[in-house]
């Protein structure tokens, strides 16, 4: 178990991390989601020991490791650019940690071969031992980098945007692979990503980082269904966020009176998921706001419609398993409707207003 407490890091005047505290359990898949510049790489580098925090502590099983050099921490980091040693073969890359680590290196060649082969087998790269790292594809490099770290049996494996440089197809496969590899080894993965799908799909728990602070730490379902703050909802890139204020029990958004979940008197922000909204004719009685159709994007399993609402772009997702795609013309007036129970309200501090009848509420 690893505990971070009040980790703070400044780069000159800029605060990259402000007092991040969290607990990393043994044998879990943790994802760390944050937009670029949110401090996620900084957090990873602090944990790995590549940089020193200005304040705060890092404890691994009760022992303070904040002052230890990277290799004494029992952690492994898989860097974003893989950082493979270009002058070595795949085998030598993976064997590097075993062979050359300062503390109790493996000297028996047979033992090294056994462990490297087993690891290459686990990441699906058997037979690539003697390839140069310039002769393998991006996805394979990624696996070599992962194998190189995992073969040293770290207690926590830190992955810095591991899928960022892969194409979509490969990314999907590696997503499954990463989970399988982690399950096999039982090592804790901390996976940093800027991609909300990755963070939601892979983690047992996820951390949402924004502006250098951990704004939410919860299982993905909970983060997605009940984002704790309006910023979390924004980072998830799945919510339309509307500004306004409560007026006679309804949410006044640029003149449209929207239904509120119960007990949300002080609401200042209002969020509705892309897929919870539906498009209806503009004069439909269920239409809550009116919007102008801009364009649509076919995503394979569904269509995302982009509309110009009273105050900014409004997105509506429609899953094709439920219905045929509707075709609209640019500039066409439409109404948008949703169920009041799907709406989330946030107070003036951006905190979610928890209401009793909310879907998925505990």
């Amino acid at each position: 178990m690893m505990e971070l407490e009040g980790l703070t890091k400044f780069y000159g005047e800029t605060c990259a991390l402000r007092g991040v505290s969290l607990t990393i359990e043994d044998d879990e898949y943790l994802t760390l989601l944050g937009p670029s510049g949110s401090g996620k790489s900084t957090l990873l580098r602090l944990i790995a020991g590549l940089e020193q925090p200005d304040s705060g502590s890092i404890r691994l099983n009760g022992e303070d490791i904040a002052s230890l050099p990277p290799h004494r921490r029992g952690l492994g980091i898989v860097q974003q650019n893989y950082a493979l040693f270009p002058h070595m073969t795949v085998f030598e890359n993976v064997a590097f940690g075993l062979r050359w680590r300062e503390e109790n290196p493996v000297t028996e060649e047979a033992e090294i071969t056994k462990r490297v082969d087993a690891m290459l087998d686990l990441v699906g790269l058997s037979g690539f031992e003697n390839r140069g790292v310039g002769q393998i594809s991006g996805g394979q490099k990624q696996r070599v980098s992962l194998a190189r770290t995992l073969v040293t049996e770290p207690r926590v494996c830190l992955l810095d945007e591991p899928l960022g440089a892969l194409d979509a197809n490969l990314r999907e496969r590696m997503t499954l692979e990463l989970r399988r590899i982690r399950d096999t080894l039982g090592v804790t993965f901390m996976h940093v990503t800027g991609n909300e799908h990755e963070a939601l799909g892979m983690g047992d728990r996820m951390i949402v980082l924004d502006g250098g602070a951990a704004v939410m730490i919860a299982p993905p379902e909970q983060v997605f269904d009940r984002p704790q703050t309006v910023r979390v909802a924004q980072v998830l890139n799945a919510y339309n966020i509307l500004q306004g204020r409560v007026h006679e029990g309804r949410f006044d958004h640029a003149g449209s009176m929207l239904p509120l979940p119960p007990n949300s008197e002080g609401a200042m922000h209002y969020a509705i998921r892309f897929d919870a909204a539906t498009l209806v004719p503009p004069d439909d009685p269920t239409a809550l706001i009116r919007a102008t159709f801009i364009t649509s994007e076919f995503t394979g399993g569904g269509v995302t419609y982009f509309l110009r609402g009273p105050d900014g772009v409004f997105e509506v997702e429609r899953h094709l398993s439920r219905a045929d795609p509707q075709v609209y013309k640019g500039g066409q007036e439409l109404g948008i409707s949703w169920a009041a129970t799907d709406a989330l309200a946030f107070d003036s501090d951006g905190e979610l207003i928890v209401s009793s009848n909310m879907r998925g509420a505990a």
Partner: protein, 293 residues
């Protein structure tokens, strides 16, 4: 000429147009490098008499070269001095390059430091070499300072007009050619590689041995080629700092040409060229530059 032939010809021209870019270089090198080189080999077989030279082919000059203690000795001396200078420029240059390439993270500072390395080149070669005399001489700066501090009683005479002074002078002049290419390669090493190695548990020394040094090797080879080519062909430093006591192949060429012994000068020229070719080939064996650069 038929229509078809014309189009074929113009197509051929089009395809090979890019080679036109090479023409000026190729012509220049043919005229001023390849032809003179062939000429030199040819002349080395001419018959040399005291005051004249004739184009009757003979091996006499070659035999003299390998039989004479003076000339063959000069070849050995040249090779020995070259090895010493190469070793010293590497030993002195590498740490400097390591500092510039790895420990100075600011690109501007890196450039400033590299430019600082070539400041000595703002003066002429001759001045740089001759400036060593008041420095190293019997009544030179070093001896005066050492005597003033009472570190020595009598001046150290070995400092000037010896092989040592030639080595000092050459190392000072050529070390920068070692620093430049190595610093360039070192600066190109991605910091994440070093972080990864550290994260995997390697000590700084291991990281240097297993990651940094191997990746800087192409720079070492390029630097070594620069230094080798220049040192092997040297004559000015040797004659200025050795009081003509240390004769390298270059010095002998100068003397022979001076006394119009063209055939003999050509022999030494060919030997020197062959030595350089061997040295460069061996250095290139160390590392596959095509792969690394």
């Amino acid at each position: 000429m038929s229509m078809q032939e014309t189009t074929q010809k113009s197509a051929l021209l089009k395809r090979n147009k890019k080679f036109a870019l090479l023409a000026p270089g190729v012509i220049w090198m043919m005229l001023f490098l390849v032809v003179p080189l062939c000429m030199m080999i040819y002349v080395s077989f001419w018959t040399q008499t005291t005051f004249s030279i004739s184009s009757d082919l003979t091996l006499k000059s070659w035999k003299t070269f390998f039989a004479s203690e003076t000339y063959f000795g000069a070849l050995i001396r040249t090779i020995r001095l070259w090895l010493i200078v190469l070793f010293l420029t590497f030993i002195i240059g590498y740490p400097a390059a390591l500092f510039i390439g790895q420990f100075v993270r600011n690109k501007t500072t890196q450039t400033v430091l590299l430019v600082a390395c070539v400041i000595p080149f703002w003066t002429s070669f001759l001045i740089r070499v001759l400036a060593w005399r008041p420095m190293l001489g019997k009544e030179g700066a070093i001896n005066i300072v050492l005597q003033k501090f009472g570190l020595i009683d009598a001046p150290i005479e070995v400092l000037l007009f010896t092989e040592l002074s030639v080595v000092i002078g050459m190392v000072q002049i050529y070390v920068v050619f070692m620093v430049g290419p190595i610093a360039f390669m070192l600066a190109r090493i991605d910091q994440s590689l070093i972080e990864a190695a550290r994260d995997l548990g390697a000590s700084s020394w291991t990281i240097f041995r297993k990651i940094i040094f191997p990746l800087s090797l192409p720079g070492v080879v390029v630097g070594a080629i620069f230094v080798s080519v220049m040192v092997l062909g040297e004559f000015a430093t040797a004659s200025a700092l050795s009081g003509r006591k240390v004769n390298l192949l270059g010095n002998i060429i100068v003397t022979q040409v001076g006394s119009l012994k063209w055939a003999f000068a050509a022999v030494i020229g060919v030997v020197l060229t062959a030595v350089m070719a061997v040295v460069i080939t061996l250095l290139l064996r160390v590392v596959d530059l095509r792969k690394e650069l």
